[in-house]
Amino acid sequence: MSLFWIILAILAVVAVAFALGRGRAVAAVAGDTRLLHSRPVYHGMFAALLAGIAGFAALILWPQLARLLNITDISRVILAAVVVGLSILAAVWAFTRIDAGFRARNMFERLVRGVLILCSLIAIATTVGIVLSLVFESAEFFRQYPWQKFFLSTSWAPNFQGNSDLGILPLLWGTLYISAIALLVAVPIGLFAAIYMSEYASPRVRGVVKPLIEVLAGIPTIVYGLFALMTVGPMLRDYFAQPLGLGDSGSSVMTAGLVMGIMIIPFVSSLSDDIINAVPQSLRDGSLGLGATPSETIRSVVLPAALPGIVGAVLLAASRAIGETMIVVLGAGASARMDLNPFEAMTTITVKIVSQLTGDTDFAAPETLVAFALGLTLFVITLALNIVALYIVRKYREQYE
């Protein structure tokens, strides 16, 4: 019995449970559904949801349980029997509870709420998982490499023979520098595009432009990388860096920042557009009615009202910028350096995580393990930044609501 059929079987049980649950509720009041505490659908959905939860939970957990209990050969037939059996059992139990007074909606909603809570815990679980999957190897790294050097050294020079310099500072600097430039590109462009789309453009234009801009987020980053490497980099070098005497590096922070900025435009523009569009028209009317120009209305009424959402969008864009590798590798180069000159090559933490993790170095040596420490450090840094951001948004928002 293949997985496909097992799932189909669960779904069948769910459907039957729904129909029977609903039917029983209707029957309980001899057809006059107004006498029911909850509408018949809720009785059906309660039974169905219970059956579904039981079935799918069993499907996911049973093999793990079997593994723990050292039942090595989990036969598909047994699996199917257990899963479908549990599902039916749950449905039957739900079925027995159904009568006119059964608070099916409340029970159903309580179940749904449980599911919702479970879902929002996935985020926490992911974080825990990430920390756990980084922390042991990081500890191993710090056993082999002094933490003072890692956090305070300004030199990054891994070496195959060992004796490497693995200071995070140049990488951190590169990360912040490149992300900042990317945001300087993306936030104004994205925000203005969003404003134009939601406030000025006709629905038709908006309907075309918005998805087009969204395509920018879907173009594989390697394309951006090549674009940076072949077009933007040389152009910046020939028309800006060299004439200004700022060096002649083909790859630079500027190149990567610009190109990455273009990539994250849709994060700012599309999300902000939705949020701005959701600001009630009556607020705009209020401002326009006082003789404000549309732009004044946008700046002083619409944007403040949409602020929390816009901040979220910008944070998302920033996050994406921090996590990007390909554009940095091809656009900004791979050399770890601390420099103010934006036309110099630099690199980011993320790039080095990837390269140290996928390189040819000894996997038990600090040169590879440093990737985990970098990951963990970046995690902590972004966490701190996010806390600050949340705090600022809160403080700012309190003025409004």
């Binding site: 023979q161 083909g250 590798v329 996997f363």
Partner: protein, 321 residues
């Protein structure tokens, strides 16, 4: 259901060879085509050393020999019987834009051009040369710009060892450095450290990136694998090293100095568990594949003069001790 295809992971240098063999293996036998992951020697060996069983890989490709520390980690996870198979050599060449100047290098030229610090008047001072002909009057009057493999690449190790360190020795700089820097490790490091002022550009990507960089900076000189160069002879001009033109022959004979062996490692415990594993290993090192006339050599692998010995070892399932 037990896994029925072979799982391979590891070095991206070995990857093309492994895919060529895997493809031919899938075509010519009843076994499914093995799955070949890329991801670097370190990552490959790490997966290899994760343990024994269906959820772990069978073969790790590596562009270097497995390290002792890695074998310890392997053993700790229960991976004890490992077959080491050397498939041949990878030549490392220096090439520049096809329309540019001709170069005839020696390791000393590279050392003088790219060393981070040079000895001057008994002191280590930052390297300031900007043109190749300042390094060696026989070289063209061209800005120094070298695209060298990034620190993640095994090629970097070979480059540092066989070119920079060799140049360091050749120019007698090593002895002078030893006088200034007393710590032995530090002295070795000073010998191979590359400049960071933009003359030596680290490439963390692959050879296609190096090629693209030469495309956008025509005076750059890149470090490539021989097979990559051979596939792009219409765009690249190769430089000689110590007067030898790199080719499979000159490398096999040892005339051309810059090369390294390539390996793959087989988990012996999986032979018999994973269908076709031993057949694949044998197929890989067979003359039809890895021999001098085989497709791997045609693609640029320098075939191992001692291939017969390897074939025998694989047939015997000889493990490392």
């Amino acid at each position: 259901a037990a896994r029925d295809q072979i799982q391979i992971a590891g070095s991206s240098t070995v990857l093309p060879y492994a895919t060529i063999v895997a493809e031919a293996f899938g075509e010519n036998t009843d076994f499914p085509t093995p799955v070949v992951e890329s991801g670097g020697s370190g990552a490959g060996l790490k997966k290899f050393c994760e343990g024994v069983g269906e959820g772990t890989i069978d073969i790790a490709n590596a562009s270097r020999a497995i390290k002792d520390s890695e074998r310890e980690a392997c053993a700790a996870a229960g991976v004890t019987d490992i077959m080491e198979v050397r498939i041949g050599y990878d030549g490392i060449v220096f090439a520049s834009d096809i329309n540019g100047n001709d170069f005839k290098f020696t390791p000393a030229d590279w050392y003088k051009a790219l060393a981070a610090n040079v000895v001057k008047d008994g002191k280590l001072v930052p390297n300031t040369v900007t043109k190749w002909n300042e390094v060696n009057p026989d070289l063209p009057d061209q800005e120094i710009l070298a695209f060298v493999p990034g620190t993640k690449h095994g090629t970097r190790e070979v480059f540092e060892e066989k070119v920079i360190a060799a140049g360091c020795e050749e120019t007698k700089a090593k002895e002078e450095i030893a006088k200034i820097v007393t710590d032995k490790d530090e002295a070795a490091k000073a010998c191979t450290a590359l400049r960071t002022d933009g003359k030596a550009v680290d490439i963390d990507g692959d050879y296609t990136e190096t090629l693209a960089r030469i495309d956008s900076a025509k005076n750059g000189i890149g470090v490539f694998g021989l097979s990559f160069y051979e596939n792009n002879t219409s765009k690249l001009k190769v430089a000689t090293m110590s007067g030898v033109v790199p080719s499979t022959e000159t490398i096999a004979s040892g005339e051309y100095p810059v090369s390294r062996p390539l390996f793959f490692y087989v988990k012996k415990a999986h032979i018999g568990q994973v269908p076709g594993l031993k057949e694949f290993a044998e197929f890989f090192v067979s003359d039809e594949m890895a021999g001098p006339e085989g497709p791997l050599a045609a693609y640029g692998l320098v075939s191992d003069p001692e291939l017969a010995k390897t074939q025998a070892a694989v047939a015997d399932e000889q493990v490392m001790n």
